[in-house]
């Protein structure tokens, strides 16, 4: 009876019911969308960084510090046997980094010269064009798409590479861009010039030295002298911290939206108690206890949440499904523009748990704010209610 009456009351309130429910529905949809978008971004960043930057983790030379280029010169060594055997089995891929400069079209640019095995299988990136043998003894190099755009260079262009050898002398050589590297991981693109591992070793005056090694899995020999294993989560920490900080801002935003939606429910409930005192008195006169009247009002308020949930599933469900499938573009901007590892389309991820959790949270909040203004009924005397008095 209580459900039937609550539903009838809601439907009889007409536009007020639909407006309140729609505001709640917008709130719920906004919450779901923002959570899904953030989860989608994190998923995509994780996938891209795993496939194109981190692999299963990295083993660093103990002196290597990605934030301190001054130590780079000393941060390489020949691989110890344990790691070398992983490389030979194809479970690990070495990288040697030295700093240098390039002269594209006569201009000077600092660059990180990265020596990689052209046939590596740790990253889902194709470096095989580094195997190409060019005329005039020009080296084969690859640069990222964005870096190429910045430099105004394309496949087949020639650039001069200058570097300082281990002995301290400067040397230079011409190189041909044999391929443009297409990657969504900014770290792999901006400022990086890829050559073969062997060539960079020669330039550096070393033999089979590496700065770091990508590994396919996190199953690595423990405690290798002079080398440190950095697992996937460690290498993702900056991304996770960034997402966490975004989530705080996001929570404030949808907290405000939720507050507005809940205010609408609270206001409707408070107004209902005030306007319907005589009805409350009539129910009490018929023998309904105060608690049951409160229950009826709470059910009525709760139904706003249920209607809002239904509305959201109807209007936002198909839209979200489509967005999750087709992704969404932000005017041609890509994650690379913001220094983040994702492509030019964003794919929100709507999991059952996320949708159910948001619906449950909103509905619990609605139940709470539905109850709050009706507390006054628990103290109400039927005679006063019939006279139109609150207490």
């Amino acid at each position: 009876m209580v459900f039937k009456l609550a539903l009838k009351n809601l439907l009889s309130a007409g536009l007020r019911t639909w407006l309140t429910a729609f505001i709640l529905s917008l709130t719920l949809a906004a919450m779901l969308f923002m959570q899904a978008l953030m989860a989608g971004m994190l998923d995509e960043m994780s996938t891209i960084r795993q496939n194109e930057e981190i692999a299963g983790g990295q083993i660093w030379h103990e002196k290597y510090d990605p934030f301190d280029p001054t130590v780079l010169e000393k941060a390489n060594a020949a691989l110890p046997n344990e790691i070398q055997s992983m490389v030979e089995k194809g479970d690990a891929c070495p990288l040697l980094m030295i700093s240098g400069a390039i002269y594209p079209k006569g201009r000077f640019k600092n660059a990180m010269l990265k020596g990689i095995n052209p046939n590596q299988e740790c990253l889902k990136l194709d470096f095989t064009s580094l195997n190409k043998i060019n005329g005039d003894d020009r080296l084969s190099v690859m640069i990222g798409k964005r870096y190429a755009d910045t430099l105004g260079m394309a496949k087949g262009d020639i650039l001069t590479i200058r570097w300082r050898t281990r002995a301290g002398a400067f040397d230079a050589v011409d190189a041909e861009i044999t391929s443009i590297l297409r990657t969504n991981a900014p770290v792999m693109d901006q400022g990086a010039v890829y050559l073969s591992h062997e060539v960079v070793n020669k330039m550096n005056g070393t033999l089979n030295h590496s700065t770091l090694v990508w590994v396919k899995t996190d199953r690595v020999p423990p405690h290798i002298e002079g080398w440190v294993f950095r697992d996937f989560m460690y290498l993702m920490k900056d991304t996770l911290d960034m997402v966490k900080s975004k989530q705080v801002g996001q929570s404030i935003f949808y907290g405000m939206l939720l507050f507005l939606g809940l205010i609408a429910v609270f206001d409707t409930q408070a107004l209902a108690v005030f306007r319907r005192k005589k009805e409350i008195g009539t129910f009490m006169a018929m023998g309904m206890s105060n608690a049951k009247v409160v229950y009826m009002f709470v059910i009525e308020g709760t139904m706003y949440g249920i209607i809002a949930t239904f509305l959201t599933l109807v209007w936002a469900g198909p839209l979200f499904w489509w967005l999750a499938e087709a992704g969404m573009s932000f005017g041609g901007a890509s994650g690379d523009d913001w220094g983040m590892a994702f492509g030019d389309r964003f794919f929100p991820v709507f999991t059952f748990g996320r949708v159910f959790g948001a619906i449950l949270f909103v509905n619990l909040m609605v139940i709470f704010v539905s109850f709050w203004p009706t507390k006054v009924i628990t103290r109400m005397l039927p005679a006063n209610a019939l006279r139109g008095r609150i207490s």
Binding site: S12, E279, A285, M286, N290
Partner: protein, 232 residues
């Protein structure tokens, strides 16, 4: 006849401007089963307050209310609700029908609260609507009915659970003369057929003419309590 209600030394005091205002003062009376009686008096004499206290809608400041010799004043709100549910039917001046419900559903409400099953409810509702002559309006909403018809629905709603006592607060105040007589006739008939006790609160002469007992109130006190031969 068996005594249904007994009031003993009843006071109802409201604080007004820092002083006590006696809405009821030392009221003592008893009402027997099957009576068709009324609390009569001008506005502010305490009729509705007394009716509310008898019907467990309000509590006295002092004194006691007994129902079948059992003290029912100063009981918990939940027990008072149970008392009303099982023993009282109420008829209000403004009908107090639920506009979102049909006539049938309005009359059904008290039975739903009592937890009756559908077939038992249906039979009782049919009977109650026959008493008030509204079987053809079962699906109508109160908004589509006249004042007289609304009050008939209210009577059916009060009577449908066969309460021990029906308390009617100024039931004809919003009705024209013809409708008032029709309503009163209906209630008198129900009283005769079912033996249900009726207690009115009124200052309407048309109602007073139908009563067999008149309890006159003035300034919260019973000033006269007399039997009369209904004049209708």
């Amino acid at each position: 006849m068996k005594e249904l209600i007994r009031l003993k030394g009843l006071d109802k005091i409201y604080p007004v401007g820092g002083e006590d205002f006696f809405a009821l003062k030392n009221v003592a009376l008893s009402i027997n089963e099957g009576e068709f009686s009324g609390l009569v008096g001008p506005s502010g004499s305490g009729k509705t307050t007394l009716l509310n206290i008898i019907g467990a809608l309000d509590q006295p400041s002092n004194g006691d209310v007994f129902m079948y010799d059992k003290r029912v004043s100063r009981i918990k709100a939940t027990l008072a609700a149970q008392l009303r549910l099982h023993n009282f039917g109420f008829i209000f001046q403004t009908y107090n029908l639920l506009n979102v419900y049909s006539v049938y559903e309005n009359v059904e409400l008290p039975l739903t609260l009592l937890g009756w099953n559908e077939s038992r409810k249906k039979k009782a509702i049919q009977e109650a609507l026959e008493w008030v002559g509204l079987t053809d309006k079962i699906k109508s909403r109160p908004g589509k009915l006249s004042g007289g018809q609304c009050q008939r629905v209210a009577i059916a709603r009060a009577m449908v659970k066969r309460p021990k006592m029906v308390l009617a607060d100024e039931p004809t105040a919003n009705l024209d003369s013809e409708n008032s007589h029709n309503i009163l006739k209906t209630m008198e008939e129900i009283n005769r057929k079912t033996g249900t006790t009726f207690l009115f609160s009124t200052h309407d002469q048309k109602v007073i003419d139908y009563l067999s007992r008149i309890i006159s109130l003035k300034d919260g006190q019973v000033i006269e309590d007399r039997q009369q031969e209904p004049k209708r």
